[in-house]
Symmetry: C2
Subunit: 200 residues, 2 copies
């Protein structure tokens, strides 16, 4: 398909390294780039490098920030600094913020423990979280990693690391999602919803 087009092939290979680009779309994205005019492409490249240059990780919680060393949430005076919600990545943080109802601060792990992929505790920001808790007056920790095997293992690991300190640790409730249908739900979710049932 890319016979005789070496520089296009190099670009397609580079695009294939970007996750979440379905294999057919890689060609379509490359074609879109080739059909854009040169000025727009230069502007696009400048935007990438400019964002890379300016967007940094918050020194406190590892959320993205652009001005100064703290993100908007850590810098906000109205947020409750005694409560930390631990999330896997920025996407989960954004989802919780969108849902509303949480007024504490966050800690972005940067992934989950995954021995198969070679991701150990030192690849995540767990040590910073432990240090952050020991150094300040954190009273509650919400482990909001995803309810996947890796997310559960990561939550367990973090909880075991913090057994010493006098800290209220909780995990997001698992169960049947609102608006769903028991008939179409997987049996692990139903089992979990049954075993974690709450008084009406």
């Amino acid at each position: 398909m890319l016979k005789g087009l070496p520089s296009l092939e190099r670009l397609v290979r580079s695009l294939q390294n970007i996750p979440y680009l379905a294999s057919k779309n890689v060609y379509r994205v490359a074609m879109h780039l080739m059909e854009s005019n040169e000025k727009d492409l230069e502007r696009f490249c400048n935007l990438i490098l400019d964002a890379k240059h300016k967007v940094k990780k918050c020194q406190n919680c590892f959320n993205w920030c652009e001005d100064g060393n703290l993100c908007l949430i850590c810098a906000a005076t109205k947020r409750d600094k005694d409560m930390i919600c631990v999330v896997e990545s920025w996407h989960e943080l954004a989802a919780i913020e969108k849902a509303g109802g949480y007024n504490g601060v966050y800690h972005v792990l940067g992934g989950v423990l995954s021995p198969l992929e070679g991701i150990g505790p030192s690849d995540l920001t767990i040590d910073f979280l432990v240090k952050r808790i020991l150094q300040s007056n954190i009273t509650e920790l919400i482990l909001a990693t995803n309810p996947t095997p890796e997310g559960e293992a990561t939550a367990n690991y973090i909880a075991s690391k913090l057994q010493v300190s006098n800290l209220k640790i909780s995990r997001l409730a698992s169960g049947v999602p609102i608006g769903s249908n028991l008939e179409n739900m997987d049996r692990v979710t139903i089992y979990k919803a049954l075993s974690c049932r709450r008084p009406f």
Copy 2:
């Protein structure tokens, strides 16, 4: 979601202009770019600009080419130059090449006529196709635009433009795809397959 991150917001807006990037994936692609190291990003930008600089359109058929003014197919001595297969875009050309069995040359229209989107004959390479046919010894023209209303209209328009010249014009056969199931096929396809039935 992008509050307080103006340069990231500009990048996401720019990525949203790329078609075939599903809305959620735009954020994931932006995050992937932010998490790449600066050297990789500079290399990626250089690949884009380098490909844009080198990849051109074939002067004859508007397929992509990189060395010289002709694409590999137009430059090939073994291809039959008397037969032109007219396709909408490079993707359809690649699909036909992959299927094999065609040894002629191509003409890439660059799209289809679409009054609703404001795409008229002057936005496509139809005039170049007419000139190309009048100037050379083309004997057969295969109109291989997609069997959509726009594709059919474009094929009709091209055929009407070339009524004068003594040229064999054909259209790709429409019917039931190989390996499919009549039960699951839409009625227009079945009607077309019936009306275009061929002797066994």
